[in-house]
């Protein structure tokens, strides 16, 4: 790994990521436009302060942290492909695992971006750097989250990079070099999502979150929504590129999604039972979420559609003949993804604040600035994901590989 080789690799990767069919350029151009819009919205927020969002002292976390929470799950979901491939030596997932790790990287970058835009003083983030600043570890769960997210990002960049780089040079990757990191990343994936759940579950002030089921439920919903997203992505890749995805991968992923979605539903049922069988004062957040409280019911249509989508999608997936049809499988995955996004994003974060600790019931409506920043960050995530997937496919299909002398990357068919 001499600097020249690295330089060559990145040069090739850049060329590969920036060349493609018109549709690819339109797609990337559209994402860039959305990112610019998001950047403009963020500049307004920097200028005026967080007052331009829909948040206030009562509901002090909104869309940003909702998306952050959801995306941590998406990032953690890569483990469902990593575990069988690298550790159980299941060769079936071979083609898909790099895609899964690409999703993890994109999701983590989005996570970090969402946390950053949520900060009141982003230019003071250096206060968190140990030695220079003060890192309140191990007391604050947020510091744990910072550690595990950045660690997971590093793991998910390192391992695929090593694999792709070896492939690029036509060398067989050395198992002893990467398998320890893969094993670590499996535990780490569970860690990032549990720690994120503990971020909430560790607050007795908010009964809606202060709940031992939160962590397991985070994992179950993540292992449903994450693979669902990867499955959608594989569907797109299978359809639009020459990089064929084998049917067995779809089948296995579908099975994982189905089981996780079913477990998630069981947990949802358990939660609903505890909240509503003998509704206490602590159930008021759930009442607000599902029925509305004191005439405030901004979330009711959302959560009800989420539950409906969840039920519908899980039912579809649970019936074998339906699940085996590609179209229905993709549709069910999309619905499931949406359902979990609503349920675990806004449906989890906002009701925690309603009613407030002193009984205040306030509705939360995201502002346009917030929505555009959110759209911008999602666009950034897709932008990164597209680039990563494009390069990964180029290397995997052998179109991009190290050569002596002048480099010429063949134009791809994407």
């Amino acid at each position: 790994m001499s600097p020249t080789h690295l330089f060559q690799f990145f040069g090739d990767a850049f060329l590969s990521a920036t060349r493609g069919r018109l549709a690819y350029h339109v797609w990337m151009g559209g994402l860039t436009f959305l990112m610019l819009l998001g950047a403009y919205a963020y500049s307004v927020q920097l200028q005026e302060g967080l007052i331009v969002t829909g948040m206030n002292d009562h509901i002090s976390w909104g869309m940003y942290i909702s998306n952050f929470t959801f995306l941590v799950g998406l990032a953690a979901a890569a483990v469902m492909l990593v575990l069988p491939t690298y550790i159980l030596d299941d060769v079936d997932f071979g083609g898909a695992v790099l895609i899964g790790e690409g999703v993890a990287v994109a999701a983590l970058v989005m996570c970090l971006a969402f946390v950053t835009v949520d900060l009141g003083g982003p230019h003071r983030v250096w206060h968190m750097i140990p030695k220079l600043g003060y890192f309140n570890w191990p007391r604050s769960m947020l510091t744990w989250d910072v550690l595990v997210l950045n660690g997971y990002l590093a793991l998910n960049v390192m391992v695929p990079f090593y694999l792709l780089y070896s492939r690029y040079h036509g060398v067989k990757p050395d198992k002893r070099k990467y398998v320890p990191f893969v094993v670590l990343s499996v535990f780490w994936a569970v860690g990032i999502h549990l720690v994120t759940a503990f971020l909430y579950a560790g607050l007795p002030a908010r009964p809606f979150w202060h709940n031992a089921l939160l962590g397991p439920r985070f994992l179950a919903s993540a292992f449903a929504a994450g693979p669902a997203f990867i499955l959608m992505l594989l569907g797109v890749i299978d359809r639009f590129t020459d990089y064929g995805i084998r049917v067995v991968i779809f089948d296995k992923l579908a099975l994982i999604i189905t089981v996780a979605a079913q477990i998630n539903l069981v947990m949802l049922g358990s939660e609903l039972f505890v909240e509503f069988y003998q509704p206490t004062e602590h159930a008021e957040s759930a009442v607000y979420l599902f029925f509305g409280l004191n005439g405030h019911d901004a979330l009711v249509p959302w959560i009800r559609s989420a539950v409906a989508l969840n039920l519908g999608a899980t039912l579809c997936l649970s019936i074998h003949p339906l699940r085996r049809r590609r179209g229905i499988l993709l549709a069910a995955s999309t619905l499931l993804f949406l359902a979990v996004w609503i349920e675990k994003g806004m449906g989890l974060v906002v009701p925690g604040f309603v009613p407030g600790p002193l009984g205040d019931v306030v509705d939360y409506h995201p502002s346009w600035v917030e929505i555009w920043v959110t759209v911008g960050i999602w666009a950034m995530g897709f932008f990164i994901l597209s680039g990563l997937v494009k390069v990964a496919i180029a290397i995997e299909t052998g179109r991009m590989k190290a050569k002596g002398g002048d480099q010429e990357v063949p134009t791809e068919s994407l």
Binding site: E48, H58, G120, G121, R124, H127, N136, S140, A205, E281
Partner: protein
């Protein structure tokens, strides 16, 4: 090129390519304040810590530039330098006495520039043998809100957003839950058949807000007061989510206080002006109570519903209340151990 000067150039280029251009003397019209501020700092002998800081902060300094653009630097290079040094100062708890004095000098100068009058910023530490406690008589409070008004003026609270540390709840007789209380009444008080209950930061013995802060910007002082270092807070609002008593307030926008009504008797951890994007809260009027005075709310109360004193002094009023009255605290089951009790006649 020597090592230190190459670092200097590198940091400068990272910070602001424009500034380099302005450093050339051939542009007399340009705004040179930022560049000069940086230059003055950089011309000093950098010790390792400072250099590290400057380098590691370079990424953040991009954002600092945005901040600088948002709040235009004054014309004077001294001011620019002060702002620069303020940005890179330490957490208040880790500062030495000298560093504390330095930042107070800088803040005083900057505030004088901003608001047309120099504040007096104390750094009075907690006194041994003092643990502050507070008791609130729900039989006596009539809901007049004199305390709220006094608090706003004493603590330089944001008038633009109508920020208030104290909330007074109007509760129907026979009810106890705050969920059924009216926290935003405005009519003649006391209303028949109602009683009044005030809340503010309860300065818990086990404050959840302190545990969750990722950068240690909020902590409990020796005398029990939970404070915020406004210049250290990164604005993540985790503490606001963790507080079971709605004791914390966030500066969603730049706070506005009319210059003529700024209280210039200030404490570093108390009522000195805040900026947008940081957390703040009741400090039991730390600028007053560390001098032996009573908090503004206690002094303003026209009915004597508020009792304040030293819990470690067996002869204090607060200890009399705890020993002789029927007291309760909010949400005792959470184990936060607030140092704020309610009692009745």
């Amino acid at each position: 090129m020597t090592k230190s000067s190459s670092i200097k150039t590198w940091v400068r280029r990272l910070l602001n390519p424009e500034a380099l251009r302005y450093l050339a003397a051939d542009d007399p019209e340009g705004d040179r304040s930022f560049a000069e501020g940086a230059a003055q700092v950089m011309d000093k002998q950098l010790d390792r810590r400072q250099a590290l800081k400057a380098i590691a902060g370079a990424g953040a300094a991009g954002a600092a530039l945005v901040q600088a653009a948002c709040a235009p630097l004054g014309g004077r290079s001294e001011e620019a330098q002060h702002r620069w040094e303020e940005f890179f100062k330490k957490n208040y708890r880790l500062m030495t006495e000298t560093e504390r004095a330095e930042t107070v000098t800088r803040l005083t100068k900057l505030a004088a520039d901003d608001r047309g009058g120099a504040p007096h910023i104390q750094t009075t530490p907690a006194q041994p043998g003092v643990l502050f406690g507070y008791a609130f008589n729900i039989s006596k409070c009539k809901g007049y809100q004199d305390c709220v008004k006094a608090c706003i003026h004493e603590n330089n609270l944001d008038r633009g957003e109508n920020m208030q540390y104290i909330r007074i709840f109007e509760i129907e007789n026979g009810q106890q839950s705050l969920a059924s209380a009216n926290g935003s009444y405005y009519h003649e008080v006391p209303a028949d058949g109602h009683y009044y209950l005030g809340t503010q930061c309860f300065h818990c013995e086990n404050p959840p807000c302190v545990d969750v802060c990722p950068v240690g910007a909020t902590w409990k002082e020796e005398d029990g007061i939970v404070v915020v270092d406004y210049d250290w807070c990164i604005g993540c609002r985790y503490c606001q989510a963790a507080c079971p008593y709605f004791g914390r307030r966030f500066n969603w926008s730049a706070p506005q206080v009319p210059p003529e009504s700024v209280n210039r008797e200030q404490h570093y951890l108390g009522n000195r002006p805040r900026k947008k994007g940081v957390m703040e809260k009741c400090t039991f009027c730390i600028q007053r109570t560390r001098q032996g005075k009573l908090p503004a709310c206690v002094e303003a109360c026209p009915t004597g519903a508020r009792v304040f004193g030293n819990l470690l002094d067996p002869n204090s009023e607060i200890r009399y209340v705890l020993a002789n009255k029927k007291v309760f605290r909010l949400k005792e089951e959470l184990g936060t151990e607030p140092k704020f009790w309610y009692f009745t006649d």
